[in-house]
Amino acid sequence: MESTLVDLTFLENFTGGDKAKMAKYINMFLQYAPNQIGIIEQKLEEKDWDSLRVAAHSLKPQVTYMGIKSQEEVIKSIEHNSADGVNLEELPTLISSFKEGVNKAITELKEHLVALS
């Protein structure tokens, strides 16, 4: 299938093309990411920058492993801004853009899951 937001090259190499393992990791991401984004939004509302940083930090490697390249820099900026307390006014836009990007990637990942099964 054709992907525009998700590049599964790393996951394919990592699993040696094992479809069951790829599906296992994709499923983990599908469960984990929406939950973490929910926490990020909640912490933004509470202006709890440290907890926001922690949530963004823990999601960052998973975005890389799922090959969502367009969102790698966005999540890094969210982590950096909340960690250093800089450009906090940009956070709502960054988080909204990240959520939109990841949600689109999730749709693609679900299609990949169907193709893998």
């Binding site: 790393f10 990592f14 983990m28 991401f29 984990y32 930090h57 823990s58 960052k60 490697p61 890389t64």
Partner: protein, 174 residues
């Protein structure tokens, strides 16, 4: 490798934990145990792991969980022979330097190459321990030779002395 290596992996990110476990389980001499917190790892430290792969940030799930650096210090206090490889999502020099200062063997940034880098760090630890083992064996051997030399010298001197005494204390020719 003479024996299996017991490797603990500590990470509060379930996907990272599972991916690293899957990656390292490919090697038949590695026996892997995983923990979501440093506290759980410390509770099992009496199992004497050879290597611990430890995440730097361990409070994303439980905000009261102890951080990796704190756990590293305690591991080293308990048993300095356990080699620790630190994992972190932060690509910052100061973080790496801090972990090394407290005795970590290596520092690996969580990215696509992290799994191979952890594997390499483990093989570097194995090599280091092998070289140290060889050096210790050599030292022990040299010590044994030195003891033997001193003991034989004492015996020879004593024998010569006895011979000299038997001969009335004179006319000893060495």
């Amino acid at each position: 490798m003479d024996k299996d290596l017991l490797i603990f992996i500590v990470d509060d990110d379930p996907m990272q934990l599972m991916m690293l476990e899957d990656h390292l389980s490919k090697f038949k001499h590695f026996k892997i145990k995983t923990f979501a917190t440093g506290e759980e790892c410390l509770a099992k430290i009496n199992e004497k792991p050879d290597i611990i792969v430890l995440d730097f940030n361990l409070d994303s799930v439980d905000r009261n969980a102890r951080e990796g650096l704190d756990i590293l210090k305690e591991i080293k206090e308990i048993n300095d022979d356990i080699d620790v490889v630190m994992l972190s999502g932060q690509d910052k020099m100061e973080v790496a330097v801090n972990t090394m200062k407290y005795g970590a063997f290596d520092y690996v940034v969580k990215n696509e190459s992290a799994f191979v880098r952890v594997e390499n760090a483990i093989y570097n630890i194995i090599k280091k321990n092998h070289v140290e083992g060889e050096a210790n064996r050599y030292k022990k051997m040299m010590y044994a030779f030195a003891l033997l030399f001193v003991a034989s010298t004492i015996i020879v001197i004593f024998a010569v002395y006895l011979g000299w005494m038997k001969g009335g204390g004179t006319d000893v020719v060495l």
